[in-house]
Amino acid sequence: MSTLEIKGLHVSVVTEEGSKEILRGVDLTIKSGEVHAIMGPNGSGKSTLAYSIAGHPKYTITSGSVTLDGADVLAMTVDERAKAGLFLAMQYPVEVPGVSVSNFLRTAVTAIRGEAPKVRTWVGEVKEAMSVLSMDPAFAERNVNEGFSGGEKKRHEILQMELLKPKIAILDETDSGLDVDALRIVSEGVNRVKENQDLGIMLITHYTRILRYIKPDFVHVFAGGRIVEEGGPELATKLEENGYAEYVTA
């Protein structure tokens, strides 16, 4: 049982006009096996929340805390956060030219598990994980995210999640740019990891579409850099009908 606890999180970025506060006091607790949907309009700070937890250097934490099972996440380097059990599925996964998917996966798994996976079982493990995500085996020989379609990038993110076995995963707009078939495959992957590994999930999305496939236990409405309303799945239905208008102050 793991718990990610975010308390009073304030985050700024440095812009040409000076420091700008994006997150203004976020409180959120995510436990193993729970799915928390974070929904909100564009520019509300949802992605900033995701990247701040993962440790992107662009964001400065000005106050608040983030802990994973009591350990201070904010004091950890980016790789240490991953080793502690956090995973961020990115909206725009980065291309790494000249580095093959298989080399990348093996290097990452070795780092996370603390030892190189056994060659015999590893090949089968990757093959199986790729097959359930309907990925062509030839995919492993391509360079990381280079020339991938939107759907391939997202499947590749979920493939990593499946192999790295995190405790808590943050899915940042994983549904964006996916057609219905790809959305279904990716969602099934997320649900499978959740069931098998008792994963806690922060599901960041603009649209309710993905919630038909990945059922949230909690829905949080995010606006102006903080959570402004919380509820169960019924809140998503209300958002689908009314949109975010009532949360966006003019």
Partner: protein, 362 residues
């Protein structure tokens, strides 16, 4: 041993265009006769396959095949009494690479001439492997007869003190294919001139390069491709990385398309990765076109810093920063290094780069 006595060429001052990037005071006197050149050929072949001959000949019987305005090359031609001649027989298909290794016995300046002849429709790979320390001035000429296919690999894995100036000039006949790989990861000052001329249509040259400079190294590559006949093709792709405040690299890519060279197809590319503040990469692509009747001509040059987003992505998967940097740099060079098709060389070069990365914090 002979000391050059004639001075019918000018000593560069550093103000001339071809010399303006080169720190002349670090050339060990190669450019101004301050050093005595030893007439010696320190390249030694491993086994010589059937269909290949490697002999040392009198320079008088093997005059230069091309002209050179480079003062160091001119000096080599005056100093060298012998020429190392490598011939690939007509129609020979040499499966294994022909490897020549530099045997350095003493710290003395050496001037040497090499002529390579790829016979009609022959296929071969020649590797020149340079390591150790010393001062070397080389004039290498490669003559590709019609339909031949020659891969020419030079490895500059010098130690820290080496000074190496060389011209690799390829003369490519009708339907011949020349592929060169220049790998420069060592030396104090290395100045290489990979140059190409064509003598018939269907001739093709692909010139690849990889360089990695650390503190105290000046690595210069001056590519020159002259399209003087119709229907020839050239591709140039050099990639470099620099790590350390005083690391310097220079890449010049001159492509000339003469009026007669209709149907020319050329593209050249240079990418540099700056891994630390203070490192400096000069990159000057230069395309001169005298005819509009061509298939294509283009060039691109980029010099940039390490991509923090790549680093973040890899680290967010648990990969420590040092290892993430190594992965990105290996990835950057893999496009070139994997083409060598020499796995042990590939691993040796990448390990050397890994080690040099580890010594300096980025």
């Amino acid at each position: 041993m002979s000391l050059a006595t004639t001075t019918n060429y000018l000593t560069p001052t550093g103000r001339e265009e071809p010399w303006r990037f080169t720190p002349l005071n670090r050339l060990a006197g190669l450019q101004d006769q301050a050093v005595e050149l030893h007439d010696r050929i320190s390249l030694e072949p491993a086994d010589i396959p059937f269909g290949v001959s490697i002999t040392v000949e009198d320079a008088a019987s093997f005059p230069p095949l091309s002209e050179s305005e480079d003062q160091v090359v001119q000096r080599v031609r005056e100093s060298a009494s012998k020429v190392l001649v490598i011939s690939i027989a007509k129609d020979a298909e040499i499966g294994t690479p022909i490897i020549l290794t530099r045997k350095v016995l003493e710290m003395a300046a050496e001037a040497s001439r090499v002529q390579i002849n790829a016979g009609l429709h022959s296929r071969a790979t020649i590797v020149i492997s340079n390591a150790g320390d010393g001062v070397f001035a080389e004039d290498i000429e490669l003559n590709l007869e019609p339909g031949s296919n020659l891969r020419f690999i030079t490895l500059q894995e010098w130690s820290t003190k080496a000074v190496h100036v060389a011209r690799h000039h390829a003369i490519i006949a009708k339907d011949a294919t020349f592929t060169s790989y220049v790998v420069t990861v060592g030396g104090s000052l290395v100045r290489l001139l990979p140059t190409v001329e064509y003598t018939g249509p269907g001739a093709s040259a692909e010139l690849f390069g990889l360089y990695f400079a650390t503190d105290g190294q000046h690595l210069e590559h001056r590519v020159h491709v002259e399209h003087g006949v119709p229907g020839a093709k050239s591709r140039v792709n050099y990639k470099g990385a620099l790590n350390g405040d005083s690391a310097r690299t220079v890449w010049i890519g001159d492509v000339f398309i003469k009026a007669a060279a209709q149907g020319t197809d050329t593209y050249e590319l240079n990418r540099n990765l700056l891994l630390s503040d203070g490192a400096r990469a000069d990159s000057v692509p230069n395309l001169e076109i005298e005819t509009g009747d061509i298939v294509g001509a283009g060039h691109a040059s980029t010099t940039g810093r390490f991509d923090d987003e790549q680093l973040f992505y890899l680290m967010s998967r648990g990969i420590p920063s040092e290892e993430a940097r190594r992965l990105v740099i290996r990835g950057f060079f893999s496009e070139i290094v994997s083409k060598l098709a020499l796995p042990e060389v590939e691993e040796r070069i990448m390990s050397r780069i890994d080690n040099e990365l580890a010594t300096v914090r980025i």
